[in-house]
């Protein structure tokens, strides 16, 4: 497996190497550089630029325009209604619930998923027997498609024929229907989210741990630091960039969460498991209110942009 991936990488690695001989060391003039990069620019930039414009920039601008219309998606938008769509969004209890759920997902990601991923990463990154196997097992859920994971867990939670039913039967308890209970559905969804994504964050931390020079830990050990001290004073500070990255992915993942929720609960019961994107889908697209849906999309876009830039400024200030 490893050999295969190495051989797969080798042509790329060869390309990245500087050309042989002294030619590479010679300073090249601007003209020469343009001469060499020009054809690449002409060949590769327009398709990418065109695709990016057509598939990203234009839809974003269009959504911004539609958000000011009452439009079903048929014909062209004609009923301009100003900010009313945005005003409406705030009046939906489901939107507040969605926003709250997104924050809840972020909180759980930070308070449960992150420490769990970090803890497991420190365990399976060391040289204990079976570490590779465990690493693979923990990472497996992440490989699964979101929809597939949602369907599997829907079956697990099913109170009629699912695992929950079987377990309740063994224990002699009435079968629980967690996904049908507005008070418990979100908790059940959170369990699936943590199960699905902690493996990914664990991998991030393993990569981060790999990057730490063992000499530092050895030096700390020689200086008499115990395991906990070494972790807190050496490992953790050196892992900060990875933790920042993990937090970033958690937040963005929460804001994008959709395909796990749909097979599990579709945002129900009673909108208790809506996220911003499922709200957009069920209150915009499914109701043929493209204008309203666009307005939700704009709100989501603004949240993402504010977070992405704000977080970059705050967390990566010193990087």
């Amino acid at each position: 497996m490893e050999a295969q991936s190495l051989s797969g990488l080798s042509p790329g690695a060869a390309l990245a190497l500087p050309p042989a001989g002294g030619q590479a060391r010679r300073r090249r003039s601007l003209g020469q550089r343009l001469w060499s990069t020009g054809p690449v620019l002409v060949l590769f930039l327009p398709p990418a630029l065109l695709l990016f414009t057509a598939l990203v920039v234009v839809p974003i601008l269009d959504a911004g325009r539609y958000s000011f219309f009452d439009w079903s998606g048929y014909g062209v938008p004609t009923r301009f209604i100003g900010w009313r769509n945005f005003d409406l969004i705030w009046r939906y209890p489901a939107f507040h619930q969605a926003l709250l759920n997104n924050l809840l997902i972020i909180a759980v990601s930070l308070c449960i998923q992150l420490p769990m991923a970090l803890g497991l990463a420190s365990l399976v990154a060391s040289r204990i027997r079976g570490a590779v196997t465990f690493r693979m097992i923990f990472f497996l859920p992440y490989i699964l498609a979101d929809v597939a994971a949602g369907l599997i867990w829907r079956f697990m939670y099913d109170g009629d024929y699912g695992l929950a039913a079987a377990m309740a039967h063994v224990l002699g308890l009435p079968a629980p229907y967690v996904l049908a209970d507005p008070h418990w559905a979100m908790t059940a969804v959170l369990v699936v989210i943590v199960w699905k994504y902690f493996g990914f964050h664990m991998m991030l931390f393993i990569a981060g741990l790999q990057g730490i020079d063992p000499a530092l830990l050895d030096a700390a050990a020689i200086d008499g630091a115990n395991r906990l001290q070494r972790f807190r004073r050496v490992t953790l500070p050196l892992l900060t960039p990875t933790i920042r990255l993990s937090v970033f992915f958690s937040v963005i993942g929460s804001l994008q969460l959709f395909d796990l929720i749909m097979p599990l609960t579709k945002g129900g019961p009673e909108d208790s498991t809506q996220t911003l994107v499922t709200f957009l889908y069920s209150f915009g697209i499914m109701r043929m209110r493209v204008g309203f849906g666009s307005a939700v999309g704009v709100v989501l876009f603004v949240i993402c942009v504010v977070f992405a830039f704000g977080y970059k400024r705050l967390a990566f200030r010193d990087v």
Binding site: G12, P47, D70, G73, Y74, G75, A180, P182, L204, K266
Partner: protein
């Protein structure tokens, strides 16, 4: 130290080829149906049908039409249900717009009419006369006919005869809502879950409320509400329907976990014999069998159905019915031959063939005699003598208000909103979108 074999964190992705959509149009001009010679006129027919029996009939109609009109060709195009709904608005504005396509009527059709995406069907008197008048009127707007109805459905209460017998309940005696409540109590007392619903999909609950509105308010209720008379959707029949549904919900008659159950799960609960009743469409014998855990479900002889019970003091007649109607709508770019083809497709001959499959009820009542399944004969007879046939509320009121209906009626049953609250929410949603 052993190298840790983690994921490649800084994998060099290289330059990714962007070659992608070259295979588009690979299906070329090889039609699904008619011979390959180039025809002057192309009728593009967009449908959602997956049943091979129905497709066989449609293909035969297309071939016959081509034989009669050698210069015209009919081409069937399939889209899956959800993809169809998502793509249709864009498709109708493209040069490849379908000539005729599937419709549930109601609010979506009105949006299509308003934007000029459709043109009326040129229907002669003989054609009109053979169609079910309720279906025809569902696709009539501003005095023009916008679609050729081809199939119909009716909602009935299905029941499990064995479970009814066990609880000592006689289906023939359930004529009013109070009878139904009494039956639910008797079933519960016998340790049987009275009713299966699909609260996860919501609309299976909404139909209970909607049918109660039809029974309580009759033909006039929905028309008045749409026109904003008597307080719109806050008028008495709507509140009354909510109150009655709440009475039922208070008995806790639904299967455990009903709020998360989908429509197929509801069918499965009923098909497995874990609930005694369900409100469902005509043709639900096959549906419940398919959804049951053993793939067989309730035996044909053990399955019964009765018309939705009446409401004391209600304005609706017991012979008023509720169910779906489907038609082929014609887009504004459709060739004139489309109408002739629709005439052929909804002719008695093809309607008889459709009815004989036992899958759909025909839109031509004369074809009813071809129905052999007793469980389909009964709704067909109800439909034939229907005094007023109401389209599904969520289709009639459009996807926007329809979803509000679904949300609020489910919340009512779950106990988080009152009957008055439901009516108010619907009225607000209706006002907002009109």
């Amino acid at each position: 130290m052993r190298r840790i074999n983690a994921i490649p964190t800084s994998a060099r992705l290289g330059r990714r080829s962007l070659i992608a959509a070259a295979a588009l149009g690979a299906f070329g001009r090889h039609g699904f149906v008619t011979p390959a010679e180039a025809a002057a006129t192309m009728i593009r027919w967009l449908h959602l049908e997956v049943n091979p029996q129905i497709l066989k009939i449609w293909n035969a109609a297309a071939v016959e039409f081509h034989a009669q009109h050698p210069d015209s060709e009919v081409r069937l195009q399939f889209l899956e249900n959800e993809a169809f709904k998502a793509k249709l608005p864009t498709l109708l504005q493209s040069p490849d717009a379908p000539s005729m396509f599937y419709s549930w009527g109601g609010g979506v059709m009105r949006a299509q009419i308003e934007t000029g995406a459709l043109r009326p069907v040129q229907m002669d008197d003989a054609w009109k006369a053979r169609l079910n008048p309720a279906a025809l009127s569902a696709f009539t707007s501003d005095g023009k006919i916008w679609g050729a109805p081809h199939q119909m459905a009716l909602m009935d209460v299905y029941y499990n005869k064995t479970l009814f017998k066990k609880a000592g309940v006689a289906a023939e005696q359930i004529r009013t809502w109070d009878d139904l409540l009494a039956a639910a109590k008797a079933l519960k007392a016998a340790g049987i879950t009275p009713i299966a619903v699909g609260g996860g999909d919501k609309w299976p609950i909404m139909h209970w409320w909607a049918y109660l509105v039809v029974r309580a308010g009759g033909r006039q209720a929905l028309d008045d509400a749409k026109a904003g008379r008597n307080g719109g959707f806050t008028a008495a029949p709507f509140v009354e329907a909510g109150r009655l549904l709440k009475q039922l919900a208070d008995l806790q008659p639904f299967q455990p976990g009903y709020l998360g159950a989908t429509f197929p799960q509801m069918l499965g609960t009923f098909g497995d014999g874990r609930a005694a009743m369900m409100l469902s469409f005509s043709g639900s014998y096959a549906r419940q069998a398919h959804a049951a855990a053993d793939g067989k479900g309730i035996a044909h002889d053990d399955l019964g159905l009765f018309a939705f019970p009446g409401v004391a003091g209600g304005k609706g007649l017991p012979t008023d019915t509720m169910g779906g109607m489907n038609a082929w709508l014609v887009s504004h770019t459709a060739p004139p031959q489309t109408d002739a083809f629709l005439n052929l497709l909804t002719s008695l001959k093809y309607q008889v063939e459709t009815a004989a499959t036992g899958i759909y009820m025909p839109s031509v009542p004369a074809a009813n005699s071809a129905i052999t399944d007793t469980l389909l004969q009964q709704p067909a007879a109800e439909l034939a003598k229907s005094t007023y046939h109401q389209n599904y509320f969520d289709q009639d009121l459009g996807p926007d208000v329809g979803r509000v209906l679904n949300d609020q009626t489910t919340a009512l049953v779950a106990g988080s909103i009152t009957a008055e609250g439901v009516a108010k929410q619907i009225e607000e949603a209706w006002k907002l979108s009109h």
